[in-house]
């Protein structure tokens, strides 16, 4: 078992002919993901790496290849349109890697998607991986190992750090999800925790948050009332100055809201094991699992 993606996932890549799109489509394919189609308008009929058919539209690609997941590398100006196109074509899992999409565009997309049953991960995220089965995103595959720890995070490199520490402790991951660093995005930390909690193969959950917004607090509330599995957490930005955007568009303390201290407090209150510093995540997982 796993969450959202497994060996049967059929992936299409929107923006497969671009520099990042082609590089990461290749890397996902190499990892073992079934990359069944690519979409780039006006490039329909061509083939990617001589094997993957390219279509002009997502609906043509879905009709011809039964793709059920999409990975989006379309440039920010056109990314909102690409997400809507995927949803309209019936894609069930949309993973938007693109960084720099205007907030207003994501605001409209999020509302439009409320009428669809699909799940959007991202944008501005590393993607999702079920080790050994399916990788959709830009994470380095080899640091992962199949196992029982579910990971969800707002940051790319912090996910890699956590995953690496878990792997170095001789453990592995069930599914790792990067929800993205933008203020308005699809899948929330709480929803990801819900998925991991419902997955019988996930024995512990690692949740990595950062300053800005209130998703950590919302997840903490859910964890306190529903989650029986051990949850380990780390929140980045405890020393970030207020009013400054720390790299991610969503990582900002404004009007005293969204501080790491408030998040850590809420998580501790919910019974979450909070790692004091970044280097302690792996050991906290081992401790929580009682191994």
């Amino acid at each position: 078992m796993s969450v959202l993606v497994d060996a049967n996932t059929r992936l299409l890549v929107q923006g497969i002919t671009g520099k990042s799109g082609s590089f990461h489509a290749s890397a996902c394919k190499e990892y073992g993901t079934q990359v069944v189609a690519g979409v780039t308008p006006a490039r329909g009929g061509e083939k990617f790496e001589k094997t993957v058919p390219i279509f002009d539209t997502v609906s043509e690609a879905v009709a011809a290849t039964k793709a059920n997941a999409s990975m989006i590398f379309v440039p920010p100006e056109f990314a909102a349109d690409a997400i809507l196109e995927a949803a309209d074509a019936g894609i069930q899992l949309i993973v938007a890697i693109t960084e720099g999409i205007p907030v207003m565009d994501m605001m409209r997309v999020r509302h439009a998607l409320s009428e669809h049953s699909c799940v959007l991960i991202g944008p501005n995220c590393p993607g999702i991986i079920t080790p050994g089965a399916c990788k959709i995103g830009i994470m380095p595959g080899y640091i992962h190992r199949p196992g029982n720890v579910g990971v969800v995070s707002r940051s790319g490199t912090l996910t890699y750090e956590a995953v690496w520490q878990i792997t170095s402790q001789g453990l592995g991951q069930s599914t790792c999800i990067g929800v993205g660093g933008d203020p308005i995005h699809g899948l929330t930390l709480q929803k990801a925790v819900e998925y991991l909690h419902a997955d019988p193969d996930t024995k512990a959950i690692v949740m990595i948050g950062e300053i800005g917004g209130s998703e950590e607090e919302e997840a903490a509330e859910y964890i306190q009332s529903r989650v029986k599995k051990p949850v380990i957490s780390f929140v980045a930005g405890a020393t970030a100055p207020p009013g400054k955007r720390m790299g991610h568009a969503g990582a900002i303390i404004s009007g005293g809201q969204g501080t790491a201290q408030a998040k850590i407090e809420a998580l501790k209150k919910a019974g979450v094991h909070v790692a004091e510093t970044l280097g302690d995540i792996g050991q906290e997982v081992v401790k929580a699992l009682g191994k």
Partner: protein, 398 residues
Amino acid sequence: MNIHEYQARDLLAAAGVPVPRGAVARSPEEAESIARSLPCNSFVVKAQVHAGGRGKGHFQDGYKSGVHLVKTPHQVRDVASHMIGNTLITHQTGPEGKPVHAVLVGESTDIARELYLAIVLDRSSGCPVIVASQQGGVEIEAVAEKSPEAILREVIHPGLGLQPYQARKVSIFLGFPSTGLRAPCRLLHAAYRLFIEKDCSQVEINPLAVTKGGDVVALDAKLGFDDNALFRHKEIQELQDPSQEDPRDLAAAEHHLNYIGLDGNIGCMVNGAGLAMATLDLIQAAGGKPANFLDVGGGASEEMITAAFRLLQGDPAVKAILVNIFGGILKCDILAQGMVAACRTAPPRVPIIVRLQGTNVEAGRKILKESGLPLLPAEGLMEAADKAVAAAAGKKGK
């Protein structure tokens, strides 16, 4: 991105939000002639800087306050001559202050009531929200803390936009009589249109004044813009004023580096925003203070790493540099080669601590070791932070 008050005022006026009469002046003479053209007998002169708290601020030479109320065009000229070319220090500028190159000269308004109005993005609902209060002229956070019931938050459907009934609801909450809703409703629609059309991150009008004559005007306003949307707003990009920015930030922007200047002495170079933030936390946990936030991104090129190094080395406050890289797509050996190349073109001025982890880490460490450069390796995260703090304090790391 931030802009000046006079620019925000012009944008609001163009969108149909009433503002007091006035104009921007870049010389005392211009300030006087603007005052002469205004049909009033009392004037406001406001120093234009990207910071709040101007009224309570002071200038570098001791001249008091960045906001003056005077009676004659001649006095306007005198005040402007003190402000223009001077540096204003407020609680938001830091001790170095911000240079004043222009002043806003306007008619002074007879105020009956000061209100608060803002349109911002509500992250949890993913919608724009109007924030309104009858307690204007003060910081909204203070109102929120003392009397949260005095604030109305009206969530707007992003597909439908601001509805007339919502504008009426907000206006009534702001204390307008039911027979006098037309002007505030028109103002609300105009401000909302501006928020959407210009991809604003915030439109804050504080105070929104009701004059003794019964007019509604935006006395002061702060506009913020979504950096991600600037590509479709050339007219907003042109409003940028480099004189108001940290010179280190400007140099970083030139090389597409994600950089924020801070006030410590340990320079940082990290890949990924989350890891960069966590690195700042580590440095402070080790008892040090970071000089900056710097995310070189997942796919940093050798050229970017060189530029980043030059930026950190060129900052006189920096006493040690901590490089913290998790090699994923960016492989450690490639990064090490880039660092060695950068050190050859600009020899290190301060100790450099390097913590590499991830793809091809052994090859990367080997390259650094064999380069003969004075780079201090670290494997653990806390170990790296400890070494950087010790080096910045002038001590030899263990």
